[in-house]
Symmetry: C2
Subunit: 117 residues, 2 copies
DNA sequence: GAATCATATGTCCATATCGGAATATGTCAA
DNA sequence: TTGACATATTCCGATATGGACATATGATTC
């Protein structure tokens, strides 16, 4: 098996920075492809491809407006990500004041210091 | 260019479900590889490879303990993800009470309803 | 030193990616 | 109809994946 498809879920879709940029732009409101192409300074086909991925994961919705296609953000699939990460919030917020942990870390630093074995 | 490496950043590292499972397990405390292999019911080399990715992104730290290697969670790199997603929280929390939005959505549903063109 | 346990690395395969270039589809305007 | 504009799709190449399998490295015990 190879790596999971980018369309497998929001996690994979959002792993690509350009796709995050697109969502960031759409967070400011509905926009036609054209507009995104201009702002991202990316080739039009690329933008269309990224939008396809986002569509398949449900992160954006489309609406036809004449010859333009208006894309709109749909953040719902991001909830899964948020729900997962939020449980780790303490892991970077916490103060390391437990003595045993601190000692363990100091010990690691010494060990890793690479004297000539 | 191909897809970004899984070791490019936390976003990519965490896109793989098994890697998330590993972090979830480590959230419960330091664990040797062995332990993870048993709990994940995954081939040992696979677990080692996933751990490598997590290590390269800084999501886990290792410590040698005799012939075992104790892996420990380091959530800090997840902050970037949290910071990004949290701005979208309202996008799935919000009540759709703006009339224009509601109408737009209804219109889309009709349009998409696929009568014969 | 030899055997054993714990972990890491290397090779192979099938698959899917992102990007670029060219081209197809679809809509409006003259 | 013809042409211009907006967007999507297809084909290509380079790359990296996750998994299976075999093997290497490293520490411990006998």
């Amino acid at each position: 098996m190879a790596r999971a498809a980018t369309t497998a879920d929001a996690f994979n879709a959002v792993a690509e920075p350009r796709r995050r940029q697109i969502l960031d732009l759409l967070a400011g409101g509905e926009r036609p492809v054209n507009d995104l192409v201009a702002r991202l300074e990316l080739a039009q086909p690329l933008v269309s491809k990224h939008l396809r991925v986002l569509r398949e994961v449900g992160l954006v919705d489309v609406r036809d407006e004449g010859r333009q296609r208006m894309y709109r953000l749909n953040g719902r699939p991001l909830k899964a990500i948020h729900d997962w990460v939020k449980d780790y919030e303490q892991s970077w917020t916490q103060r390391f004041d437990r003595l045993d942990v601190v000692l363990e870390q100091l010990k690691d630093m010494e060990d890793g210091d690479g004297s000539d074995k």
